[in-house]
């Protein structure tokens, strides 16, 4: 691009800005680009059917425009190589997603969710700007490679400060606990294809920022960085999944699971940072591969789950799973896609979630084998916490899938549900097929991820091989541990057929259809079915030290002996909101109120303020 500058009527010089210097297409950026597009395509196809009929055509056009700007800004965020331009596109991404979150402007909750989201994301961006300015002060340039060279001579104090600033800045966007408050508000209120994009792709750009800036540019040399990220990741995992278990809004449940999965991704990334700082390159690359694999897997299956949740919302009109049920008979294809997504997120073989969690666990184990005593225990405990979250996630998705889709409809909403249109189904099927492909083709994908991880950490991965052949993964061949998802899938299928063979071997049997037995209670109605609240009660009690549940009861009596109605409500306390955010917000509002006394509201007074200030400045600062 060329800009002409006029001065006194004459064209003085032509400024030549080559655009190519702003982009950096190394394997890490290409990987994130592929994540973006792999989720955006089905979301775009899905939105054709989703938006039809619910919005005016002007609004649909607006939504397409915002959608394209959103994807473009995200793609540019992961490929630019200049910190200033990165910040510009980061801001554009946040702003456009804000507009998309408040798209349903007639819902009051959307507007409130948008407000929380925009405030928190801007606080994060403020921290990012501070970090970038610190880096600029040291490197005198905004270009990534120039900063990378300068960071090698930076004093340790500055590096630590920059790391903390970057962690808070990117952590706000990624949803690390305790900066995750906006996620459960913003993701449910956005239209479903936007939720799938935000949850599947946008929070991953924060992980990209973390990897690019901390690993590639700053260069990890202190081990406490990796350990801090590991601790935060474990906390995010557990907090995310425990809150998800208590949710009955389908999309809020999925939003909390995003918090949990970001924790799992950060387990891999944190481990990689730790291994980089203690100079174990093979393990660092392996852990980063596990983290990146979980990243793309999560993008795929979380995108799929949000699209399915959107289909349920569009068909039934409500997101509250306590009012749904029996949808598997009315929306069979959506049910199959949701089941595949639920199986993937619960890490069931042979789908993709299983492979990435297995890889993360192996990374922990291998790291523990090479670490000193205390670190071994720490890594073992982190691995146990990962196993706990995957068990709890499976429990949560049994609840989500079982209560939404199975048994009988619990209300009129569910009874009136119909299967959704073809474009929505096409989007969902594509992502469901991708979950299966990414599970079976694990070895091939690891080869690609090795290149990306090598680019991020600066280690040459050409000689490292993580799989035996195209079907079998092996973290370290010397330890004789292998995993092969295609063969496992074959084995499971073969055994299932064997079971079916045993079943049929004794001749045809008769099966009669009848009402559910339920120990002989023949008046079975939807009220007999288990509710979601009841399903999660044992876990609510087990984790009550964290959830702090409380209940409200109300009895309406006709007389002392005759109770006409009994209302029972149980709530869990929102610990983070109550003890961190509300006090901080109250403090800010109080100080704003006390500053209000300076503002009488008269414009003339304000102009007078400005004038007097300028006058004073001119008089007292004569060195202009």
């Amino acid at each position: 691009m060329r800009f002409f500058s006029f001065y006194r009527g004459y064209a003085v010089k032509m400024i030549n800005i080559p655009l190519k210097q702003f982009f950096l297409f190394d394997p890490l950026s290409l990987f994130f680009l592929s994540v973006i597009f792999v989720v955006s395509l089905p979301a775009a196809v899905y939105s054709v059917g989703y938006l039809r009929g619910g919005y005016s055509s002007a609004k649909i056009t607006l939504s397409w425009f915002l959608f394209f700007v959103f994807i473009l800004s995200m793609a540019l965020v992961v490929t630019v190589s200049n910190a200033l331009v990165f910040l510009v596109f980061w801001e554009i991404m946040s702003l456009v997603s804000y507009f998309l979150v408040v798209f349903d402007t007639n819902h009051e909750r959307s507007v409130q969710a948008g407000m929380i989201y925009i405030v928190m994301t801007h606080i994060g961006t403020a921290f990012l700007t501070a970090a970038f300015l610190l880096m600029y002060k040291h490197a005198n340039s905004f270009d990534f490679l120039a900063i990378k060279n300068a960071c090698q001579t930076m004093p340790a104090q500055t590096r630590n400060i920059i790391f903390i600033l970057l962690l808070i800045g990117f952590g706000t966007k990624a949803g690390i606990v305790p900066l995750h408050l906006w996620l459960p508000y913003a993701h449910p209120q956005a239209p479903s294809h936007i939720s799938s994009l935000m949850s599947g792709v946008m929070i991953k750009t924060a992980i990209y920022g973390l990897i690019r800036f901390v690993m590639f540019i700053l260069g990890v040399d202190s081990s406490w960085w990796g350990i801090l990220i590991l601790i935060l990741a474990v906390i995010s995992c557990l907090v995310g999944v425990i809150y998800a278990l208590m949710e009955h809004d389908l999309k809020r449940l999925l939003a909390y699971h995003s918090v949990e999965n970001i924790g799992i991704i950060l387990l891999g990334v944190g481990l990689a940072m730790f291994f980089l700082s203690v100079n174990m390159p093979y393990l660092a690359v392996f852990s980063l591969i596990a983290g990146l694999y979980h990243l793309i897997n999560h993008a795929i299956f979380k995108g799929l789950l949000f699209l399915c949740a959107g289909s349920v919302y569009k068909a039934a009109g409500t997101r509250d799973i306590e009012k749904l049920g029996g949808l598997i008979k009315k929306m069979p294809q959506t049910a199959v896609c949701f089941l595949i997504g639920a199986m993937a997120i619960s890490a069931l073989p042979p789908l993709n979630g299983f492979v990435s969690e297995w890889l993360t666990l192996q990374a922990f184990f291998l790291g523990a084998a090479n670490a000193a005593g205390g670190a071994k225990l720490f890594l073992g405990l982190c691995a146990a916490m990962l196993a706990l979250t995957s068990g709890l996630a499976a429990a949560c998705f049994v609840k989500a899938f079982g209560i939404t889709f199975l048994a009988q409809p619990r209300s009129r909403y569910a009874e009136n549900a119909r299967e959704v249109s073809l474009s929505m189904k096409a989007g969902m099927f594509f992502l469901a097929a991708l979950t299966i492909v990414f599970g079976l083709a694990a070895a091939g994908i690891m080869k690609l991820l090795a290149k990306a991880a090598g680019a991020a950490t600066g280690i040459d991965t050409g000689s490292m091989s993580f799989s035996l052949n195209n079907f079998i993964l092996s973290p370290q061949v010397s330890r004789n541990t292998y995993l092969s998802t295609p063969l496992l899938a074959l084995a499971l299928a073969a055994l299932g057929i064997a079971g079916f063979g045993i079943y049929m071997a004794f001749g045809r049997q008769k099966a009669i259809a009848c009402k559910t037995w339920d120990c002989g209670y023949y008046k079975l109605s939807p009220r007999n079915e288990y509710t979601a609240t009841a399903f999660s009660k044992p876990l609510r009690i087990a984790f009550s030290f964290f959830l702090l549940p409380y209940r409200k009861t109300r009895k309406i009596r006709e007389s002392f002996y005759l109770v006409k109605s009994f209302t029972y409500e149980t709530h869990t306390t929102q610990v983070f909101k109550k003890y961190i955010y509300d006090p901080a917000l109250a403090l800010v509002l109080k100080s704003a109120k006390s500053l209000r006394r300076m503002q009488p509201g008269s414009i003339h007074l304000y102009i007078g303020y400005i004038f007097i200030t300028v006058l004073l400045l001119i008089i007292f600062m004569r060195k202009f």
Binding site: Y7, G9, I603, H604
Partner: protein
């Protein structure tokens, strides 16, 4: 010649400050802009610079013809009483302007110390016009006075730039003119809306909106 024009500018400034109604304010603004145009035109004739001709022409077209016409139209559309609410009565305002003149002369002589006599007087008049613009914005109640105050400040800055550096770069001048034009339109629209909503354009009463 220069002295006559400066005197004209001074007189029009005083007229602006003692104006009690909107049409007279706009008329004196017009007079001031015309004097400014004359000054620029004479400089252009003297130095034979083509861009100064264009600037002078734009000054005439915009600030003498177009913008006052727009402002008259706004007043007619608003259909309110043309009273320009005054915080200070005209006599005291005139006194204040004379004080400002002295202050700006002191400022020019002691702080800037330019050199020859014409420059001193031009510079001090320029500062005075800026101060007069701020005065209009602070001490007049209606929104229209604030628009005109802004325009007067821009006049003063134009004169200042013309004296100090022989005019700002051409491109910048064009940009500023366009800016002024657009902002007057926008502000006029706002005044209209304020009037429609509140049925008056007394900006002082807007303090009731304080939350």
């Amino acid at each position: 010649m220069q002295g006559m024009i400066l005197l004209g500018i001074l007189v029009s400034t005083c007229l602006m400050v003692i104006a009690k109604r909107m049409p007279s304010l706009i008329r004196s603004f017009r007079l001031q802009s015309f004097c400014l145009f004359l000054a620029t035109f004479i400089i252009a004739l003297g130095e034979h610079r083509p861009d100064l001709y264009i600037v002078a022409g734009l000054l005439f077209a915009l600030k003498v013809l177009l913008i006052p016409h727009l402002l008259y139209r706004i007043i007619k559309k608003i259909n309110t009483n043309e009273d320009l609410g005054l915080f200070i009565n005209p006599q005291l305002s005139l006194l204040l302007i004379l004080v400002f003149t002295y202050l700006s002369w002191v400022f020019t002589v002691y702080f800037i110390a330019p050199g020859d006599q014409t420059q001193i007087s031009t510079l001090s008049i320029a500062f005075l016009i800026v101060l007069a613009g701020i005065f209009l914005m602070i001490f007049r109640m209606t929104a229209l006075a604030q628009i005109i105050g802004l325009l007067v400040m821009e006049n003063g800055l134009f004169l200042l730039a013309a004296t100090v550096s022989g005019g700002m770069p051409f491109f910048v001048e064009i940009a500023i003119f366009f800016d002024i034009f657009v902002s007057v339109i926008i502000m006029g629209f706002f005044v209209y809306r304020i009037n429609k909503f509140f049925t008056h354009i007394d900006v002082n009463k807007l303090s009731r909106l304080k939350g």
